[in-house]
C-alpha cells in the first residue's frame, strides 16, 4: 500500500501542472453548489436574525421590502417619509415604544441615523468609549464608521449634501463625536447616530442664526420694526452647534410635521402588537405597519428559490464535468499504456497497478474536496459582508 501511494504521489508530483488543474476543476465543481448553499443559508440566518429582533416597523405606504431594508440596514429610503406626529400618536396609544429613524443623510458613505437614545437600549448597543449624544449636534459612531472616517471622541464629522443636485438643500452640519460603539457585527457598526432633531437641523427644518431683534448691522436686515424683522441673505445659519450658539437654534412650524423615514415599534406585549397591527390595517391613510420578520422571510424565500435553481444548474454542470473528468482519466490510462506495461514487466501485479491508479484519483479527489471546503469557509467569512454591501 505504501509503495502504491509512493508511486501515485510521485506521479502526481511529476505532473504537477495537470494535477493542479484537475484539483481546481473538481474543487470548483463541488464548491459552486456547496458554497452557494452555505452562503444563502448563512445570509438568510443573519437577515432573519435582525428582522426577528425588530418587532414592528411603521412607515409610508409603498414597498414593504424597501421600508424594511431602510429600517434594518439604513438603506437610503426610497419610500416617502411619514410625519413625526405618527411617533407621538403611537406613544399616546401606550401600546409600545416608538423609536423614530431618520436616514436621509450621510457622512461620506456612512448613513446618519437620526433617532433617540431608546434605539441604543433596544439594540443593546454598548459604548466602547465616550458617551451617548446629549445635546443637539453631537453624534455617536459605529466602530467601522469611526475607522473609515478616521474619527475619534472629541473630533468631528460633517454631513454631506443628500444628492449631487442638492448642494443647497441640506445643511452641511459639523457634528461633534462624543462616543464610539462596541463592535456588533451588524449595520449599526456602519452608522453615524445622532438625535433626530440634529437631522432636522441638517434638513434645514431647524436652524440657528443671529438674534434678529439684536442685530445692529443694517446690511443684515431688509426691514425691521418692534414685531417684525426681514433678514437679508447675508444672515447665515450656523453650520456648527456650539454652547455659545445652541440657544439660537429654533424649529419652524409644528415639529409634528417633520419627517421620519421609519419608526421601529417595540410593543408592550403580544396583545399590544396585535392591537397596533389591527389599527394600522384598518387605517386608510398613507401609513403602513409591517412585521419585518414576514417581509424579510419573503425576501429569503426568494433568495432560496434562486439558490435552488442555481444549485440545480450547478449539479447538472457538475455531473457533466465529472463525466468529462472520467473521460480524461480513461484517456490518461490509455496514454499511460507503455508505462503500465513497464510496471508489469518489472513485476508489478494487476492489483498493484490498479491501486496506484486508484490512489492517484483518490488523492486528486480528496485535495479537491479540501480545497472546496476552504473556499466555502472563506466565502462564509467574507461573502456575507459582500452580500450585505450588495443589498445596501
Amino acid at each position: 500500500m505504501n509503495n502504491s501511494f509512493y508511486i501515485a504521489w510521485r506521479y502526481l508530483q511529476f505532473h504537477w501542472g495537470k494535477t493542479l488543474l484537475l484539483i481546481l476543476s473538481i474543487a470548483l465543481v463541488v464548491f459552486i453548489p456547496l458554497g452557494l448553499n452555505y452562503l444563502v443559508n448563512k445570509g438568510s440566518e443573519d437577515l432573519m436574525d435582525r428582522a426577528e429582533k425588530t418587532p414592528l416597523i411603521v412607515g409610508a405606504k409603498g414597498s414593504e421590502t424597501e421600508l424594511s431594508l431602510s429600517a434594518l440596514y439604513f438603506n437610503k429610503p426610497k419610500n416617502d417619509a411619514v410625519e413625526f406626529r405618527e411617533v407621538e400618536s403611537i406613544k399616546e396609544q401606550d401600546l409600545g415604544i416608538p423609536i423614530p429613524l431618520n436616514i436621509e443623510y450621510q457622512v461620506k458613505e456612512q448613513p446618519i441615523v437620526g433617532t433617540t437614545s431608546a434605539y441604543f437600549e433596544f439594540r443593546n448597543l454598548e459604548l466602547k468609549e465616550g458617551r451617548k449624544m446629549a445635546i443637539l449636534g453631537e453624534c455617536v459612531l459605529g466602530v467601522n464608521t469611526a475607522k473609515k472616517l478616521n474619527a475619534e471622541v472629541g473630533g468631528s464629522v460633517i454631513s454631506s449634501p443628500s444628492g449631487a443636485f442638492d448642494v443647497a438643500g441640506s445643511f452641511p452640519l459639523k457634528m461633534t463625536v462624543v462616543g464610539i460603539l462596541e463592535e456588533t457585527g451588524t449595520p449599526d457598526d456602519e452608522a453615524v447616530f445622532t438625535d433626530i432633531k440634529t437631522t432636522w437641523v441638517i434638513s434645514g427644518k431647524a436652524h440657528g442664526h443671529q438674534d434678529l431683534q439684536q442685530v445692529v448691522n443694517d446690511t443684515l436686515l431688509l426691514n425691521k420694526n418692534e414685531n417684525r424683522a426681514v433678514a437679508s441673505p447675508a444672515v447665515l445659519s450656523y453650520t456648527e452647534i456650539t454652547p455659545e450658539n445652541i440657544n439660537s437654534f429654533h424649529f419652524h412650524d409644528d415639529p409634528g410635521d417633520y419627517p421620519v423615514n421609519a419608526i421601529i415599534v417595540v410593543p408592550n406585549d403580544r396583545k399590544s402588537a396585535l392591537m397596533l397591527r389591527g389599527r394600522y390595517e384598518n387605517n386608510q391613510n398613507s401609513v403602513q405597519m409591517l412585521v419585518p420578520e414576514e417581509v424579510i422571510s419573503e425576501l429569503v424565500d426568494t433568495m432560496i428559490s434562486i439558490r435552488d435553481l442555481l444549485i440545480l444548474a450547478g449539479v447538472i454542470i457538475g455531473i457533466a464535468c465529472l463525466a468529462i473528468l472520467a473521460f480524461v482519466f480513461a484517456l490518461s490510462i490509455k496514454l499511460r499504456k507503455a508505462e503500465i506495461t513497464t510496471m508489469k514487466h518489472i513485476g508489478a501485479s494487476r492489483n498493484f497497478v490498479s491501486s496506484v491508479l486508484g490512489i492517484e484519483i483518490g488523492i486528486v479527489l480528496i485535495l479537491a474536496i479540501i480545497l472546496s471546503g476552504i473556499l466555502t469557509l472563506t466565502m462564509g467569512n467574507y461573502g456575507i459582508p459582500l452580500i450585505e454591501k450588495l443589498i445596501s
Partner: protein, 306 residues
C-alpha cells in the same frame, strides 16, 4: 473570687458576641431600598414631587441655583446624568426651552401640563421674522408660569402623583395619601384666591413683568404689564410710563416679583401708586416653601381688596 469574676466576664462577652452574630444577618437584610431618581425642571414641581414622593424618591433639581429656571440651559454632562433618570418631570407650556436642544428619552419624561393645552395662555408677545428660503415665520410663546393658577397647580401635582405611582407602584398608597393632603391645602388656598374681591372699576393693577397671565386669568386680576426689574432705578422715563398708564379716579397698585428699591417705591408712592410683591416662584424661595409663598402672595393681594 477573682477567677470566678474573670470567667463570668468571659461568659458575658461570649453571649453578647453570639447575640451580635444573630443580629448581623438581620442587619444585612435591611439594605436600603433603591430610590427612583426623579429630575424636575422648576421649583413648583420640586415642591410637589417632594411633598408626594418624600423619602421614597431621590429628587434632583439641577436648576435650583438659578433665579429663573426657565432660562436654565443644561450642559451635556447634566443631560448625560438625566439620561440615567427614572423620571423627568417637566412643566411644559414652553417653560423648558432647552428641551428642543437635548437628547432625552421620551419614555422617561412626563409633561405636567399635558392635556391642559386648552387652558394654556399666550405670552402676549410675538415676533415675526423671515430669512433664507424658509419665508416669514412667527415666534409666539405660551405663558409658562402656570402654577399661579392654583387649579392648574393642583392638576400638575396630580400628574406628578400619577408619574411617581407609575415609577414606584409599590409606594402608590403612600404617594396617593401625600397627594390628597397637598391637594386639600392647595384647594383651600385656591378658594381663598377666588374669594378675592378687587373691583376693576375702583382699582387698577399694573404688573412689573408679563409673567402673571395665569394669576390674572384665574382670579379676575386683569392689568397691563411693564418690563421693569425690581433693581431698576426710579427715573423720568419710568415716571412718564406710569403717567401714561395710570387711570384717574382709580387706586393703582404695581405688582412686583420682588421688593423694589426704596427710591422706586417712594417715587411710585408720590404718584399714588402702591407697590406690592407677588412672588411668581421662579426659583427656590429662601426660608419659605411653595405654600407659604402662595399664602404670602394672597395676603398681599388681600390688602388691595380691603
Amino acid at each position: 473570687m477573682k477567677k470566678t469574676s474573670l470567667i463570668l466576664a468571659f461568659l458575658i462577652c461570649l453571649v453578647s458576641c453570639k447575640d451580635k452574630e444573630k443580629e448581623s444577618p438581620q442587619e444585612e437584610s435591611k439594605q436600603p431600598e433603591e430610590q427612583p431618581v426623579v429630575y424636575v425642571s422648576n421649583y413648583p414641581l420640586y415642591y410637589f414631587a417632594d411633598k408626594i414622593g418624600g423619602e421614597a424618591i431621590d429628587l434632583k433639581f439641577p436648576a435650583s441655583e438659578e433665579t429663573d429656571p426657565s432660562g436654565w440651559v443644561p450642559g451635556a454632562e447634566q443631560i448625560v446624568e438625566m439620561q440615567e433618570a427614572d423620571l423627568i418631570l417637566l412643566n411644559g407650556a414652553t417653560f423648558e426651552k432647552w428641551l428642543t436642544n437635548v437628547s432625552l428619552n421620551d419614555e422617561d419624561m412626563v409633561n405636567s401640563t399635558a392635556g391642559l393645552e386648552d387652558k394654556m395662555l399666550p405670552l402676549g408677545e410675538k415676533f415675526t421674522h423671515s430669512h433664507g428660503e424658509g419665508g416669514e415665520h412667527t415666534h409666539e410663546g405660551t405663558a409658562s408660569i402656570t402654577w399661579l393658577d392654583l387649579e392648574l397647580a393642583i392638576a400638575q401635582a396630580e400628574k406628578v402623583n400619577e408619574a411617581l405611582k407609575n415609577t414606584a407602584p409599590e409606594k402608590s398608597e403612600e404617594f396617593q395619601a401625600n397627594f390628597e393632603q397637598l391637594k386639600n391645602n392647595l384647594t383651600e388656598l385656591h378658594q381663598n384666591y377666588q374669594d378675592l374681591e378687587i373691583d376693576p372699576e375702583k382699582v387698577q393693577l399694573i404688573y412689573s413683568h408679563p409673567v402673571y397671565q395665569y394669576l390674572q386669568d384665574a382670579y379676575r386680576l386683569k392689568g397691563e404689564s411693564l418690563h421693569w426689574e425690581p433693581s431698576d432705578e426710579w427715573n423720568h422715563d419710568k415716571k412718564h410710563e406710569i403717567e401714561h398708564l395710570a387711570k384717574k379716579g382709580q387706586k393703582t397698585y404695581l405688582i412686583w416679583e420682588d421688593e423694589p428699591s426704596k427710591a422706586m417705591k417712594d417715587g411710585l408712592e408720590e404718584m399714588g401708586v402702591t407697590s406690592i410683591v407677588v412672588n411668581p416662584l421662579f426659583g427656590q424661595p429662601e426660608n419659605l416653601d411653595f405654600q407659604e409663598v402662595v399664602f404670602k402672595n394672597l395676603q398681599s393681594l388681600q390688602k388691595i381688596s380691603e
